[in-house]
């Protein structure tokens, strides 16, 4: 194995863009746990290819390309799953994801403000699902509701957040 001395800039970029890479991967995979695993594979791959990276060029674009191939590999290995992103769909989604991630910070700030505006009950639901990582069934038990009802409730909360974010982004564009 060839040892390559990593520059501070490279390390900074690698750490700084982890969340954007995660967002990109999740967009094309859809499953949070799997997206985390793929991110780690991408990180390893980036480190192996560090000598191919030209300092000063667009790190995120370069890393995203590596991620794209890892994602393709993920879907290939998935074989005949119920849901499948084929190459053409991956290409389309990738283009859209790059555009969406361009406004990453703006979206994140908007999301935070939107979450703050949610009623406490809805925030609690998100905490259970995202922070405590409870399954739908476990959440349903704590709310004394059916799993289906919780899925529906989550869907409404997310759509409310989505609308709120879009509205804020639109306002910022004015």
């Amino acid at each position: 194995m060839t040892k390559h001395v990593l520059s501070n800039e490279f390390l900074r970029d690698l750490t700084q863009y982890q969340d954007r890479l995660f967002a990109y991967i999740l967009t094309m995979i859809g499953n949070i746990d799997d997206a985390r695993d793929v991110l780690q594979d991408v990180n390893q791959c980036i480190l192996k290819k560090v000598d191919k990276y030209n300092e000063g060029t667009n790190f995120l674009a370069w890393a995203r390309r590596i991620a794209y191939f890892e994602i393709q590999s993920y879907w290939r290995n998935k074989g005949r799953s119920r849901f499948h992103f084929d190459i053409e769909l991956l290409e389309h989604i990738s283009e859209e994801a790059i555009e969406a991630i361009d406004r990453y910070d703006e979206r994140l700030s908007a999301l935070r403000l939107c979450i703050e505006k949610l009623p406490q009950e809805k925030q609690k639901l998100l905490v259970q699902r995202y922070q405590k990582s409870l399954s739908i069934n476990d959440v349903a038990k704590t709310w004394n509701r059916s799993g289906k009802a919780i899925v529906m409730l989550l869907s409404r909360v997310r759509l409310q957040l989505f609308d709120c974010i879009q509205k804020r982004l639109a306002e910022n564009n004015l």
Partner: protein
């Protein structure tokens, strides 16, 4: 405008089930039929793809937002670096593959795997962007958003946090320690805190010089220091500097800086929300108790005590009329961990209350040679008129037992060469302690000094005239 792209989705929400399908997709609750439906939609409808993508980015944001602490040490349910499934897969990998990857990662990336490791030596390796800080201590904290943030929770860059009550200690990636007192509201960044309400104490490491605290009308820039910033509900900013120096700037309504000043150790300043100048105010070291307790063998003291790290030369030399204040009793840390090479006479070393010259200032006890001690000077010098008596009282709690209190000029003079930095560094320096009043209380019986049963608390009541000082040296056991 982006939202207009989804007009068809939004105006016909009742009919269009795309948002619900996407949501179910992320919850892994799609039926086979729904899977096909979503897949077909994404393959054929660009607008649906755009919606899906932006929804997915939001999903990643929510995931990150609610995982302030990707705390792999404490929560089995939090997301580990690898999923459980991946861990099972990893078990099947060959030993050499794992070792090879581990070495590669350990050598190349500082910290990518640190989340999974409970103990690390270098704090900066713990943090992986966007996590830039970690909660180190939390006492009775109530967060406004009701999210549980236990010790070791990681905080994200630009996290906006509000505490209703309690005290939380946060360590930044740089090693800088921040202590917030509730109620407070703040936004946290790697090298900047925006404090809109409450009190923040910052102990900034050398590598973080330039760290700043922004308040509603000003900015405090660290220049290698320990300082506190308080923002009141009226948006007034108060700044106290315990160590080093800071630069304070105030801004007009347009955000243009129009006044700035430096503030040095043991100084304080304040400015109103609409202020055009920065006013001096009274320094108090009580804000810095956590830092003091960490660095010295003192666990608490009354508010009228000022712990000042650098003893002024004049005070060290026992000169008169220096540091005059009718209300403040100064505590000056002196040398630490000094090995006594000969016996030292002490006036007080046993629990009890002592209240006249005969009780206070006689050499009744001996601290034997071979003892290791830390020394503190306690100094009260009132401005007061020579004819008017000034009274001050308070307590000092040490976290190790007091083994001797030295009160007489003779005791102070004899021991300055051991404990006073000034005299240790310049042995020829002349010292006086000529104005020490405790001896002069012979006929007046006007000071009271108590040492608690566990010998860790000194309670004092000094009553003195303006022409005298109360000057004590307290020796405590050194840390073993």
């Amino acid at each position: 405008m982006i939202s207009s792209n989804f007009k068809n989705l939004h105006t016909s929400k009742d009919e269009d089930d795309l948002p619900h399908l996407v949501s179910m997709f992320f919850d892994d609750h799609l039926s086979d039929a729904d899977c096909n439906k979503l897949q077909l939609r994404l393959q054929t409808d660009p607008s649906a793809r755009r919606f899906y993508t932006q929804y997915a980015v939001m999903q990643s944001h929510i995931t990150l937002h609610f995982n302030h602490g990707l705390d792999y040490e404490t929560s089995a349910k939090s997301k580990p670096l690898y999923s459980k499934k991946r861990f099972r897969a990893l078990e099947t990998m060959t030993y050499f593959s794992i070792i090879g990857i581990a070495i590669l990662i350990c050598i190349c990336v500082f910290g990518l795997l640190q989340f999974a490791q409970p103990e690390v030596q270098d704090d900066s390796e713990l943090f992986q962007y966007p996590y830039i800080a970690r909660i180190e201590r939390s006492e009775d904290v109530k967060w406004q958003d009701e999210i549980d943030r236990p010790v070791k929770t990681f905080l994200r860059d630009k996290d906006l946090l509000s505490m209703l009550e309690g005290e939380v200690e946060v360590r930044l990636k740089s090693g800088t320690t921040l202590i917030f007192h509730g109620p407070s509201s703040f936004r946290i960044e790697e090298d900047n805190i925006s404090l809109s309400l409450g009190k923040l104490i910052a102990d900034v490491t050398k590598k973080a010089i330039g760290f700043s605290v922004e308040t509603p009308s000003g900015k405090v820039v660290d220049l290698g220091t320990t300082f506190s910033v308080t923002v009141t509900p009226e948006k007034k900013t108060e700044v106290q500097v315990f160590r080093g120096k800071v630069n304070i700037s105030i801004f007009d309504a347009e955000g243009t800086e129009f006044f700035s000043k430096f503030l040095f150790a043991n100084q304080a300043a304040e400015f109103e929300f609409t202020a055009k100048e920065i006013n001096d105010s009274i320094f108090s070291s009580i804000d810095f108790l956590q830092i003091i307790t960490r660095d010295y063998a003192i666990s608490d003291f009354s508010e009228n005590n000022i712990l000042q790290e650098n003893i002024p030369d004049a005070v060290a030399a026992g000169l008169f009329d220096q540091y005059e204040d009718d209300h403040k009793v100064f505590i000056f840390p002196e040398k630490k961990n000094i090995l006594l090479e000969s016996d030292v006479q002490a006036a007080i070393s046993r629990p009890g209350t002592y209240q006249n010259e005969r009780e206070i200032s006689r050499n009744r006890d001996t601290i034997p040679d071979g003892t290791r001690v830390d020394s503190f000077r306690i100094y009260f010098n009132p401005v007061g008129h020579p004819q008017n008596m000034v009274t001050v009282q308070g307590k000092i709690h040490f976290n190790r037992p007091v083994i001797g209190i030295l009160t007489s000029n003779e005791q102070l003079l004899k021991t300055s060469s051991l404990f006073s930095s000034l005299i240790v560094d310049s042995p020829s320096r002349l010292t006086f302690h000529s104005s020490n009043k405790t001896e002069k209380a012979k006929r007046q019986h006007i000071d009271i000094i108590s040492l608690s049963d566990d010998r860790k608390v000194i309670t004092y009541k000094f009553m003195t005239y303006g022409k005298y000082v109360d000057d004590l040296r307290v020796l405590i056991e050194s840390e073993r």
